[in-house]
């Protein structure tokens, strides 16, 4: 899949990423910690990290609002980037695919923020956003599935894809029945992070070791994603059933 083993490029990329992570951790340390301890259904990415990332994206959001970019354009851009990510995974370009997945997740955050800031938030926008999110997730998983087409891990990709959809479907169905459902350890940002970071870390490991380790990191990421998404869907279903059971027939 890779034309050559490139440990030098991988080492340079690792240095850039390490420097960025160091700067990011310094920034994170300045964000005040949330008061309450995380409960059982809390997402893996806590409120402090979410607040920090939103803060980091603030200048970008300001620029988009200033340039009057419609939030719908960001939603469609998310789909386009996800298609590219899927194509990159399909071609075996895991480093590119991983970062494009993270960019797609970032666009998913930005479209909502821009919609609220510009007063363009609407029920139609929320519907389009939710639908595009599902297509975006699906095309990414198609690419990951194609990457693992000759491996038993294809099954794990199918489970991860189905479970991710069930996480969203369970929430949508429960909210349709009047149950507010925000809990779950592997929500969309977590899923983007696990898949994205797993992919580029895996590619770096392969190039740094000249293929001595296969794509074990990516395989572990896909397996973790399948397990966590399935657990989250189950967690949500149990919670919704309990609340609906209490509220009578």
């Amino acid at each position: 899949m890779s034309p050559a083993c490139r440990p030098g490029t991988a080492a340079a990329a690792s240095l850039v990423v390490a420097a960025t992570v160091w700067l990011a951790l310094r920034g994170l340390a300045r964000v005040p910690a949330a008061g309450a301890a995380p409960d059982r259904g809390a997402p893996l990415v806590g409120p402090r990290v979410r607040a920090w990332y939103r803060g980091v994206l603030a200048p970008l959001e300001d620029a988009l609002v200033g340039a009057r970019v419609p939030p719908d354009a960001l939603t469609w851009a998310q789909l386009a980037v996800s298609v590219l990510a899927g194509a990159a995974f399909w071609a075996g370009w895991l480093f590119v695919g991983g970062w494009l997945t993270i960019v797609a997740g970032t666009l998913d955050i930005l479209d909502g923020g821009v919609a609220r800031r510009t007063g363009a938030a609407s029920m139609r926008g929320a519907l389009v956003d939710s639908l595009v999110d599902r297509y975006a997730e699906f095309v990414t998983f198609v690419g990951v599935g194609a990457f693992f087409r000759d491996s038993w891990l294809l099954l794990a990709v199918a489970v991860a894809c189905f479970a991710s959809f069930m996480v969203s479907y369970t929430r949508a169905r429960a909210e349709g029945l009047g149950v507010d459902l925000q809990l779950g350890s592997a929500q969309r940002p977590e899923r983007y992070l696990i898949l994205g970071c797993g992919a580029w870390l895996s590619d770096l490991a392969v190039h740094l070791t000249c293929g001595m380790v296969g794509h074990v990191v990516f395989a572990a990421a896909v397996l973790s994603l399948a397990a966590l998404a399935a657990w989250t869907a189950l967690e949500r279903a149990r919670h919704a059933a309990r609340v609906l059971g209490r509220s009578g027939p």
Partner: protein
């Protein structure tokens, strides 16, 4: 564009460049992306000294 936009944009170009250099045969495109990314990220980090002395990836104080 502000430093807060140039930095992530440059970082993204760098990552694309590294990715293409690692896995593709598009070495020319990869080189161009790496140079462009380094210039953009460098400009963002340089401008940071004037705009926000707190540091890179430190959330700015929101105006709203």
């Amino acid at each position: 564009m502000t430093a807060g936009v140039w930095r992530p944009f440059g970082f993204f170009l760098l990552m694309l460049g590294f990715g293409l250099r690692l896995d593709s045969e598009w070495q020319g495109v990869a080189g161009a992306l790496l140079v462009g990314g380094a210039v953009a990220a460098g400009a963002g980090l340089w401008a940071l000294r004037r705009e926000a002395p707190g540091g890179a990836f430190v959330p700015p104080v929101r105006r709203r």
